[in-house]
Symmetry: C2
Subunit: 313 residues, 2 copies
């Protein structure tokens, strides 16, 4: 596999990387996403990042912006939100609202002068893990990205599972409490409303606790009662959602990624307790909760795997 | 595909059928399951049913019981409970408790003197629907069997999806209310505790309502307020569980089978309302809720499809 460019477009940053055939990152560029600027501003930043990569410096990239280069080699792009796999259209993108119903494959292909493949960012992370990470030896797994939001990707029989509408792996919106708190998606009691870092910090403030998730986790590990309750609650909700996964698909490997991955030790016990009681006829000892191999670079590496044509149904 | 014998072992009846290559049932035999009699009694009934089928009459079958015939042709057998697909062992069988950890493939193969394939009964129903029923033209679907219990089968990319432990499609144990009523599986608030016919009848009695599910449905269709509430509640819970399916796997076709299939009209509206609010970014209009084609014969027909070697991962 030759080297490829992978792009990870987030609500805060756009990252572009030149990645070798063995998955190592040769060079990368990170620029702020100009969400307020609208569609054209976001697109301009993506082009800027790619040209920065190609020229090796951002300064010379700015000079070549008007050139409209014709590239060879497919570029893979991970995007936040629901990406229709057949049409290559972003259907819904809460973090980049100007991209709702955005024809990403067509517009970004024209912008970058080459064939592009677009995919949901958590699906890209799943591709990275399947290729070179914690899922390398797994035929099937669920990847859960636990961060400010909760997303995921599904890998089945060696292939990324997108589903009919590209929504496969949206495990953050599995209901863990039907009458729970309102979620950004419009429903109530989604996993994201309990087990995201946003939810943990909200509950911490409500309980008068200070600090970020790492601070809270440190105090929980030191025996802090109120802090422990926060992670206990988040872990139990994670377990309820994972039990749904196990009851429906029964794949025993689950990879946890995202900003909350470092506190998986605090979530795992309560999650396992819920799985043990709620996954019908399952020996919870057979369930593997694995930390992701890739952190920040998962999106770029997965996008490159996408560009190189990872098999998918 | 030549004719095959398919067997459907339930907690109440054992059904065996001789099924032609086109799926039509040439002959069938139905005998009561002697659950109280233990392993040997259940096995004896299975043999009796097969021999009854072969001889064409139950009387002559009884005479040949001691012959221990050596058969040719694979026999497919659907079993209630969790069937380990690799080992051919029944891990857990609430309806035939003497079959917990029962090495079904080995023992039934020896009993019947031929190669047998064993599979969970709801998975057999999914095979039947995929072969000749409502799933005939579908690459992927979820089958939900709504009856005294709630089970299911998952079909993905043209193959039955068993999962790592044969528990794929156990959608009856997806949590719809974490603090809900106790379920037979040991957890609380499983779909089965709200949307099974057992649950509907329990709630009906509690509300002082008489009759079976059909009676209650008839009165609900005629505008009966209390009866309507029963089906509204069951339909909403079904929708919550289906939203989990849609958020995780995003396959838009769902086939409903089982004793509650005739009341799908009462469940569909409330189920769709929950899906609309809980399936993140999904147009609920894209979701198809289909009635199963096969009723009582699904198990036999699916078992025959299993015997004939339907592709599976």
């Amino acid at each position: 596999m030759a080297e490829h460019i992978g792009i990870d477009v987030g609500g805060t940053f756009i990252k572009a990387g030149l990645v070798a055939g063995d998955g190592s990152i040769i060079d990368s560029v990170k620029l702020p996403t100009d969400v307020q600027g609208g569609v054209e501003a976001v697109e301009a930043r993506i082009l800027e990042a790619v040209e920065g990569l190609e020229s090796g410096t951002l300064e010379s990239a700015a000079l070549s912006l008007s050139k409209g280069p014709s590239r060879t080699g497919t570029i893979g792009i991970g995007l936040p939100g629901i990406v229709d796999p057949r049409e290559g259209v972003v259907r819904l993108s809460p973090n980049i609202p100007c991209w709702n119903d955005y024809p990403a494959r067509e517009r970004l292909g024209r912008l970058l002068g080459t064939v592009v493949r677009v995919e949901n960012d958590a699906n890209c992370a799943a591709l990275a893990e399947a290729w070179l990470g914690a899922g390398r030896d797994l035929e099937s797994f669920l990847l859960v990205t636990l961060g400010t939001g909760v997303g995921g990707g599904v890998f089945l029989s060696g292939r990324l599972w997108r589903g009919d509408g590209g929504r496969g792996g949206e495990v953050g919106h599995v209901v863990v409490d039907p009458d729970g708190l309102p979620c950004g998606c419009g429903a109530r009691g989604c996993l994201e409303t309990v087990s995201s870092s946003t939810a943990i910090l909200r509950e911490a403030r409500r309980a008068g606790l200070k600090g970020n998730v790492e601070d809270l986790a440190g105090r929980a590990r030191d025996g802090g009662h109120d802090e422990s309750i926060l992670f206990e609650r988040a872990g139990r909700a994670l377990g309820i959602a994972l039990a749904a996964w196990l009851n429906i698909i029964d794949v025993h490997a689950i990879i946890v990624a995202g900003g909350m991955q470092p506190v998986l030790d605090l979530l795992e016990g309560p999650a396992r307790a819920e799985i043990a009681s709620r996954a019908y006829g399952l020996d919870v000892g057979a369930v593997r909760l694995l930390g992701a191999t890739f952190g920040e670079d998962a999106g770029i590496v997965g996008a490159v795997r996408l560009a190189a044509g990872f098999p998918s149904p």
